[in-house]
C-alpha cells in the first residue's frame, strides 16, 4: 500500500517538476507510437477498406489470417524486425537497428492487422446498410469503401485510438529493436521494465501512472471532440 502512495507522490513530483528525462521519454513514446499509428492507419485503413469490398480466391483465408494476426505477440514482431534489420539481415544496410525508426517499423507491423481487421468489419457493416445506394449513384467498389470510411470517421478514430493504445503500451518489440538506450530509444514501457528489474518499484509504478495519464488525456480529448459533434447534431434538430 505504501508503495502505491509513494508511487503517486513520485509520479506527481516528476510531472510537476517537468523532469527532463521524463519529458524526453514521454515525447519519444508519443512520437514513436504516433508515427506507427500514422503509418498503420495508411496501410490498415486502405487494406481493411479494400478487403471489405474485394472478392478473390483466398479472400476468406486472408481475412482469417488477418484476424489471427490480431493476437500477434509483440516480442515475435520485435524478433522478426531485429532479424531483418540486424547487420547480417536483408535490411541491415539501412543501419537503423537500435534507433527510433526501427521502433516505428516494429510498432507499425503490430498495429496494421488491428487497424485493417477492425476497418474491414466496420466498412463491411456500413456497406450492408448503404452499399447499394452508393453503387446506384455510380460509385465503384473501392470508392464505396472509402466513402464509408468518411461516413464512419468517428468509429475510425476509435479504431486508431485502439491501435495507439496497443502501440504505446507494448514493450517487447521496442525493447528488442530499440535496445532501451537512455536518451535515444528509451520509452515509457522500457523504462518501467528497467526500473522494475532494478528493484525501484515505486519509480516503475510512477512511470506507469504517467503512461496511463498520457493515454487518458488523449482519450479525453477525443471524447470531448465526439461530444462536441454529438451536441452539434442534437442542436441541429
Amino acid at each position: 500500500m505504501n508503495d502505491f502512495a509513494q508511487s503517486f507522490a513520485t509520479a506527481l513530483d516528476l510531472i510537476t517538476a517537468a523532469d527532463a528525462v521524463l519529458v524526453h521519454t514521454v515525447a519519444l513514446s508519443l512520437g514513436v507510437s504516433g508515427a506507427a499509428c500514422l503509418f498503420g492507419a495508411g496501410f490498415g485503413l486502405l487494406g481493411g477498406a479494400w478487403l471489405a469490398v474485394a472478392r478473390f480466391p483466398g479472400h476468406r483465408a486472408l481475412v482469417t489470417l488477418l484476424n489471427t494476426l490480431l493476437a500477434l505477440p509483440s516480442v515475435v514482431v520485435g524478433l522478426v524486425v531485429y532479424l531483418l534489420l540486424s547487420r547480417s539481415g536483408p535490411l541491415g544496410s539501412w543501419g537503423i537497428l537500435f534507433t527510433p525508426s526501427a521502433m516505428v517499423i516494429a510498432q507499425t507491423i503490430l498495429v496494421v492487422p488491428l487497424v485493417a481487421a477492425l476497418t474491414r468489419q466496420l466498412v463491411g457493416d456500413s456497406l450492408r446498410d448503404g452499399g447499394d445506394q452508393l453503387r446506384s449513384m455510380g460509385a465503384g467498389a473501392l470508392t464505396c469503401a472509402l466513402l464509408m470510411l468518411l461516413h464512419d470517421r468517428w468509429a475510425v478514430l476509435t479504431v486508431l485510438l485502439t491501435a495507439f493504445g496497443r502501440a504505446i503500451a507494448e514493450v517487447g518489440a521496442v525493447m528488442i529493436v530499440g535496445g532501451n538506450i537512455a536518451g535515444v530509444t528509451r520509452v515509457m514501457t522500457t523504462s518501467i521494465a528497467l526500473e522494475t528489474s532494478k528493484g525501484d518499484l515505486a519509480l516503475a509504478l510512477a512511470l506507469g501512472i504517467v503512461l496511463l495519464g498520457v493515454v487518458g488525456v488523449i482519450n479525453m480529448l477525443i471524447g470531448v471532440a465526439q461530444r462536441g459533434r454529438g451536441s452539434a447534431l442534437a442542436g441541429a434538430r
Binding site: G130, D132, Q133, G138, L150, H151, R153, A232, L233, R237
Partner: protein, 239 residues
Amino acid sequence: MNSATLLRLTDVSVHFGPVRALRHVGLQVNRGDFVALIGANGSGKTTLLRLLHGLVAFDGSREVLDATATQVMVFQRPFMLRLSAINNLHVALWLARVPSAERAARAAQALQRVGLAELRDRPARALSGGELQRLALARAWAVRPQILFLDEPTASLDPSAKKEVEALLAGFAAEGMTLVMSTHNLGQAKRLATRVVYLDQGTVRVDLPTDRFFSKVAGASSDARADLFLKGALTWTLE
C-alpha cells in the same frame, strides 16, 4: 420494339439461393413512362426494381438500349452519409462526374426544389422521415437522371409528407423524366402512373395503361388475380 425504349428485360429470372424471386419476366421501360409496380408483399416488386437498375444478378437478357441514359434509385429507407444535407448532394454530384464548378449551384437548386434550402447545413441523418425522403429525391434529381427508380418512396410517411413527395414525383414526370416506382398505395399508382405492372409470385401478370388497369368494369385488368388484388380479396396461398 418501341424506338423510345430505354430498358428491356427478356425472359429474366432472379434466384436468391433456393428462392426464385422473379420468373421469366419480360418488361420494357419506354422514355417518359411512369410505371407503377404493384403487388402483394413478396411478389418481387423490389427485386424487379433492383434488376432494372442493374443491382442484382440474373438469368436472361437485360438490355440498356440507351447507354447514355443516367439511372438513379431512391430506396425505401434512403441511405445518407454522416454529412450535412448539402454535402450529401455534393458527393452524389461528384460520383456523377458533374464538373466541380457546377456542383454548388446544382446542389443548392436541388435543395430549393424540394423545399429543404434552409436545412442545407443540417446533418442529413438528423432529418425527419419526410425531409429525408425529400432529400433523397433532391439528391436523385440533382444528377438529372433519365430514369429514376423508386422503391415505395412514401412508405411510412405521414399524409402530408406523402402529398409533398407525390407532388415532387408528378413534377419530375412532367419534366419528361422516366420513373419506375414500386408502391402498395393503389391510389398513388392511379394518380401518378401512366402504366401499371402487376406482379404476383415473381411473375408479371398484367402490364396495362393505368386507366385500363383501374377500369371499374369487372375483369378489365385481364387477370383474375389482379382483380382480386384490387378488391383486397387476394388470399395468401402456397404454390
